[in-house]
Symmetry: C2
């Protein structure tokens, strides 16, 4: 299962925002940020169809937000925090802070 | 031409990001932020079809990023900076800063 990732310099702002513009994907970014490491993709959203999740992983990966690393028959996901931070300093923290505040005010808004 | 706008409290993060996830819309937000006031919608992108622009104004308006105010046969656009700032403090500045830095590094990336 070969996957390609954009280099740090290839990360584009409109792709980042488009990837974040979906509650499921925003939630994945928040959880990966909180975890700080790798997570099996099967550990996310067991109620969502695999093909749907595969689409979301692709959008996140192509935006440069996550790294997908094969491990056996699974893929491990991690947030490309350093790359996004290097490309757009402060942006990811602002995004995560806004998501945190929205979630605190209105828990239903973020899944 | 009646248009509706979300209230400040109705502004949702995933809608904001989805609206910003397009280079034309991101550019409009940047220009409105730089201008600081109202602009006729016909002053943007004369090369883009009116129906396409109408779609983009709707996405920006429904996300809570812009206000559209009828004026004669035209619509005046302005950035809802105070509302977005009140809902998500610091986020818009982070977005504008990232767009500025991307544009400076790679002028072709942002139109």
């Amino acid at each position: 299962m070969a996957v390609t990732h954009p280099t740090r310099d290839q990360i584009q702002l409109d792709n980042l925002f488009a990837a974040l513009g979906n509650p499921l994907r925003l939630q994945v970014v928040r959880e990966l940020a909180a975890d700080g490491g790798e997570r099996r993709c099967s550990s996310f959203f067991p109620e969502v169809a695999k093909s749907t999740l595969t689409h979301h992983w692709r959008v996140l990966r192509e935006a440069g937000l996550i790294c997908q690393r094969p491990s056996g028959r699974e893929l491990l996901l991690s947030l490309r925090r350093d790359d996004v931070e290097a490309r757009f300093p402060g942006l990811l923290d602002a995004v995560l802070g806004a998501a945190e505040s929205e979630s605190a005010k209105d828990p239903a808004a973020v899944r």
